[in-house]
């Protein structure tokens, strides 16, 4: 696509429920990143994909968080048994190769609210 698409744009869920956030990167971009932005905070790195593999999962805050990427394109970030502290905007970004070589293009984000 022309840009990075994320869905849903807004999600309100109850504590303890599972949520799935989707990212559709720019066509042809091999690198895909997930970041989290909490109120008043900077962007917190979660995970990076190169193709379908994730060389760096170091930012995932707990084992309730997981992500996958299929076909070198769409990625899904799953949060199991959501907690109130998971409330944040989840931003996805893609680049042609990796951030060291190319600038990241961000999606508009998915705002998650856990009640």
């Amino acid at each position: 696509g022309a840009g990075v698409s994320q869905s849903p744009s807004n999600k309100v869920t109850e504590k303890g429920k599972d949520v799935e956030l989707r990212c559709d990167p720019i066509s042809g971009h091999t690198a895909l990143y997930w970041y989290r932005q909490s109120l008043g905070q900077g962007l917190e790195f979660l995970i990076y994909f190169q193709g379908n593999s994730a060389p760096d999962k170091s930012g995932l805050p707990s084992d309730r968080f997981s992500a996958e990427r299929t076909g070198g394109s769409v990625s899904t970030l799953t949060i199991q048994r959501t907690q109130q502290e998971d409330s944040a905007v989840y931003l996805c970004a893609s680049s042609l190769r990796h951030a060291g070589a190319n600038v990241l293009t961000f999606g508009a984000g998915s705002r998650l609210t856990v009640l």
């Binding site: 990075v4 900077g42 962007l43 060291g100 508009a108």
Partner: protein, 112 residues
Amino acid sequence: EDKVVQSPLSLVVHEGDTVTLNCSYEVTNFRSLLWYKQEKKAPTFLFMLTSSGIEKKSGRLSSILDKKELFSILNITATQTGDSAIYLCAVITGNSGYALNFGKGTSLLVTP
């Protein structure tokens, strides 16, 4: 632990003023520093700086990097209300050449 610190955290100016936003960093194996502008949700790219002392310009915005003193500044001249946004600074290091390490951002409000 790598650190990226932005200052001020927030700023209110009048239209027409000039502002300077700061970004300092303490990282190992520095590669590049980037500036992004975030208005609603999606941060949009402004500048990538790799070499010290070379100013990058785009219209009323300019930025420069000092690799000796480990900081960068982003200047905006003749500010307009449309410049109101959060300005994010991020550093790429050789440790993780694929992930940007972001500061907390500077929230700029330009009043008419």
